[in-house]
């Protein structure tokens, strides 16, 4: 990767996150609370918190990845930062990754708390941590790409439509599939967990943490699906997203 592109990714991520974190530190807490809310109910109803913590980790990266590009098109109608960047020597790749990275930075304090709690409560093992980070990055990349594809088709949509759809999708991908609850609950339908990048990621992390048993073939299938989803979404973003208007 070109050094200028990599440097611009970091600058855009900084622009889109640090001023917010400096002046609105509560923003990070609020985002964290969204991911932690299901844990509260799970604790009340006596469910295993370990499942929920892994769900909260995946949920927070997914939510931020998916929502960032969609909400950006709404905000940018007034701020026009993207419009200014299009007319600057900035690569679209820098903008896309920088923007998604910014949302990850904002949700990182909450993510860190979830990871520490998961390690403390045994939901994650130190040896599974590296795999978990890789899986989280892939999940984040997939959801960010999905967000960019959706935002491409929402350029002319009203602000309320954009915000409602973003929130709806976030909930549909993090709260409906087995992200916060174990996929075993679905019984014969547990294969459905593989269809969603979020629940597939949770399943893989649980396998590496020893919370879910799986054959080598099943692990390979899960990896294949996760990588394929990421590749398809990434390719679709590259072909569908438009930097310069036609």
């Amino acid at each position: 990767m070109n050094i200028k592109i990599a440097r611009d990714i970091l600058i855009i991520a900084t622009i889109k996150s640090i001023p917010d974190l400096k002046r609105q530190p509560l923003l990070s807490l609020i985002l964290g609370l969204v991911g932690a809310l299901p844990l509260f109910f799970m604790t009340i109803f006596g469910a295993q918190i370990s499942h929920g913590l892994i769900g909260a980790m995946v949920g927070s990266v997914s939510f931020s990845g998916l929502l960032a590009p969609i909400q950006d098109i709404a905000g940018d109608r007034y701020l026009k930062i993207r419009e200014m960047l299009v007319a600057m020597p900035v690569h679209p790749f820098s903008y896309a990754i920088g923007l998604s990275l910014a949302s990850l930075i904002i949700s990182s304090p909450a993510l860190l708390v979830f990871v520490v709690l998961a390690l403390w409560l045994g939901a994650l093992t130190p040896s599974s941590l590296l795999w978990s980070v890789i899986i989280l990055i892939l999940c984040w990349g997939t959801l960010s790409s999905l967000g960019f594809i959706i935002s491409t088709y929402l350029q002319k949509a009203s602000l309320s439509t954009v915000n409602n759809l973003a929130t709806l999708l976030g909930f549909a991908l993090t709260f409906l599939p087995p992200v916060y609850y174990p996929e075993e609950i679905l019984g014969n339908l547990s294969w459905m967990a593989l269809l969603f990048p979020t629940s597939n990621a949770v399943g893989l992390i649980r396998i590496y943490s020893g919370l879910l048993g799986a054959s080598v073939t099943m692990i390979s299938v899960r990896w294949l699906i996760l990588l394929a989803t990421m590749t398809v979404c990434g390719a679709a973003t590259l072909t569908k997203a438009r930097w310069r208007e036609t």
Binding site: R7, P19, Y78, L79, M84, L85, A87, M88, P89
Partner: protein, 315 residues
């Protein structure tokens, strides 16, 4: 051959040849119709026109944000269609109605955007400082934009463009929504930039602004350029060079109120005349009859209304 000449140089900062843009949504809109404009290096060129005239579309094509339907456009000899990367190295753009982000400070804007230009941290700091001092908001540099006034916010955005050290600045209605004092301070900054050898392409619908700051301007209407030249040259497009404003009955001065040279605004009448002596004669006659009257050379606004009106009646 032609391409070589363009690359060498020379006096054109921006050039468009038969540039056209058609938006095909629910209905087809011809936003630009064969626009041919030439902007020289080191001048402040204004696109003047009513809302929907095609000014923003032109600026967005020239600044590589939007693709044209037809025609050619060059910035410092680089083709905006095929060499957008090269064009972007040399321009800085301030879009229309741009709002500042409340959590950003003027420093954040100038410093980070300078970094995105490829400057080192040191160069970006130096550029940001110079730009913020030029627009006179250096003492507000660490204040969140949400606490700044409208004029200060606009200057923060102009500083962002200035800090880029670009050769050509494209500003889309940079003073819209500002009060007269703030507007004049922005004009002063723009003129200062031109004095330093920068080229500015400005769009506005404010006649006074176009007259006060432009070296040359083009009047646009319905996607077409209908007049181009210096403010003085444009003013000469109207046959009548003087205006007399009379408050009261015009017929008592022997001037028919339905004449094509007469316009009524409330209780005031404006009479357009070719001859200064004739204008002074009407003023004297009006004063003798106890009416309020004054004369002055025609303004750009007078000519604009006339030129745009004439073109519309031709359709």
């Amino acid at each position: 051959m032609f391409g070589c000449k363009r690359r060498l140089g020379l006096i054109e900062a921006v050039e468009s040849v038969n540039l056209s843009k058609v938006y095909r949504n629910k209905e087809t809109v011809e936003a630009l119709k064969d626009v041919t404009i030439s902007i020289r290096k080191g001048e402040l060129f204004t696109l003047l026109g009513p809302n929907g005239a095609g000014k923003t579309t032109f600026l967005r094509i020239i600044s590589t944000q939007l693709l044209p339907t037809k025609g050619e456009a060059y910035v410092l000899g680089y083709d905006v269609l095929t060499q957008p990367k090269e064009v972007r190295e040399h321009i800085a753009v301030v879009p229309q109605d741009v709002a500042t982000y409340g959590n950003f400070t003027p420093w954040d804007y100038s410093y980070y955007f300078a970094m995105l230009r490829g400057m080192s941290k040191y160069e970006a700091k130096e550029s940001a400082e110079k730009a913020l001092k030029a627009v006179e908001i250096w003492n507000l540099r660490h204040r969140a934009c949400e606490t700044l006034s409208g004029g200060e916010k606009k200057r923060a955005i102009i500083a962002l463009a200035l800090a880029s050290n670009a050769d050509i600045f494209m500003l889309d209605e940079p003073t819209s929504g500002l009060d007269a004092v703030a507007r004049r301070s922005v004009w002063a900054v723009l003129r200062e930039m031109v004095e330093q050898g920068k080229t500015i392409l400005l769009t506005t619908h404010i006649m006074e602004e176009a007259e006060m700051v432009s070296d040359r301007l083009a009047i646009m209407n319905n996607g077409k350029v209908i007049a181009e030249g210096t403010p003085e040259q444009i003013k000469r497009l109207a046959r009548e060079r003087f205006r007399v404003v009379v408050e009261g009955s015009l017929s008592s001065l022997g001037i028919p109120e339905d004449s094509s040279r007469v316009t009524k605004f409330g209780s005031k009448w404006i009479v357009y005349l070719e001859d200064e002596e004739e204008a002074l004669e009407i003023v004297r006659a009006a004063l003798k009859k106890g009416l309020k009257a004054e004369t002055a050379p025609v303004t750009l606004e007078d000519v604009f209304v006339k030129v745009v009106g004439d073109k519309q009646s031709e359709h």
